[in-house]
Symmetry: C2
Subunit: 213 residues, 2 copies
Amino acid sequence: MTISPMIESFVFHFGEMGSRWGFNRTVGQMYALMVVSDKPINANEIAEVLNISRGNVSMGIKELQSWQLIQLHHYPGDRKEYYSPKGDIWDMANTVFEERRKREVDPTLSLLRDILLEQPGNDSEAYAQNRMREIHDLLETLVAWTSELQGLNPDKLNRLMKLGTGVSKVMDLLSKANKSSSAKSKSRNKDQLPFRDTSNTHSDSPMRDDSND
Amino acid sequence: MTISPMIESFVFHFGEMGSRWGFNRTVGQMYALMVVSDKPINANEIAEVLNISRGNVSMGIKELQSWQLIQLHHYPGDRKEYYSPKGDIWDMANTVFEERRKREVDPTLSLLRDILLEQPGNDSEAYAQNRMREIHDLLETLVAWTSELQGLNPDKLNRLMKLGTGVSKVMDLLSKANKSSSAKSKSRNKDQLPFRDTSNTHSDSPMRDDSND
DNA sequence: TTGAATGTTCAGTAATTTCTGAAAGTTTAA
DNA sequence: TTAAACTTTCAGAAATTACTGAACATTCAA
């Protein structure tokens, strides 16, 4: 079994990129191969096409399963297992986002929460905690947003995009619709800011300003 | 120079996570250190605190500069360079997103565009192109969205979140505001769907359905 | 129960990435 | 100029990560 140059270039590229997304090159190639294959493929085919060992394929399959990315198939009279991507492209993106959140963001949030419970022992710790609080709040916001986005299916999302909408515009609409809070809200309405916490020891400015230079 | 255990745990954790975000452990630690430090620090301090070689620090600085993440400072009578994070936490997040987009998503989009211009030579290639088109469109949508988000500053973003808004709700609002297109739009309004392209050879269903199992 | 077909594991090896430290480069004050 | 103070570079070493392939495990038909 072989693949055309066109498909090959996609598979290789996806392999390189895959390593950015939390799995290694081979696993990325394996998944790419499944995605563009018009039917489920088995481990031997994968090993042959990608020119890697059978053992490596087995480990890659295990990894992809831990990411919940693949679906197993069996054919009568054939004892081999066949693999295909689970769900559609949008499902895939959601799954990857979610897995990454679990593996990367959640532990960070947990650590930050723990640290923020500690009493700062001196000025540096107090300063550090303020920066950490900012990061913590930012991560929480991003998590909230992405989980909102994940609730959408692709055509909804696209319709939203296609309306030519800026998020800013969305916000204006929302403020109007929800005019209870946020009274016109110029630019930095102190009591609504989770960032730039100033409650603790140090200077008001979140970033040190360099006295010289 | 040393750091407290509290700060150390943050710096180390950030180092581990940093590798997920496109730079290596040491670079992540260096940046974390700058973020929680209440004043700019110099290369020797970094090397001492993190217990790494001076040359390594130099390379890390270079890397952070290529990400546009740090600011230089000089003090009179001191020839050393001092470093601090550039901008606030939100700027940092924006910068990282943007750099990653440039390094990871843009090349993928470019490759996909090129491939999609080719004429499929057979059914497999046609099938593969359809999957690639889905990925291409999804990536474009995500890029559009994140660039929208990047246009917001943190308090705007938070106000948006704090309004208790689901994105779905946003969409409803928008459809109302923009009722030119999308006539009520139940669920799969064919002519508005960029995903699930059906214009090419293969079956209408985007995912193969396995005939057995 | 056997053995052929297949899947999994893991110790050792290979490939890749990161780090060190000495040498070379740069800047500035005198 | 010189030389001290500092930064950068990069060849080789160390650390980490990925891969192979042979041994082991499992399944199933006969």
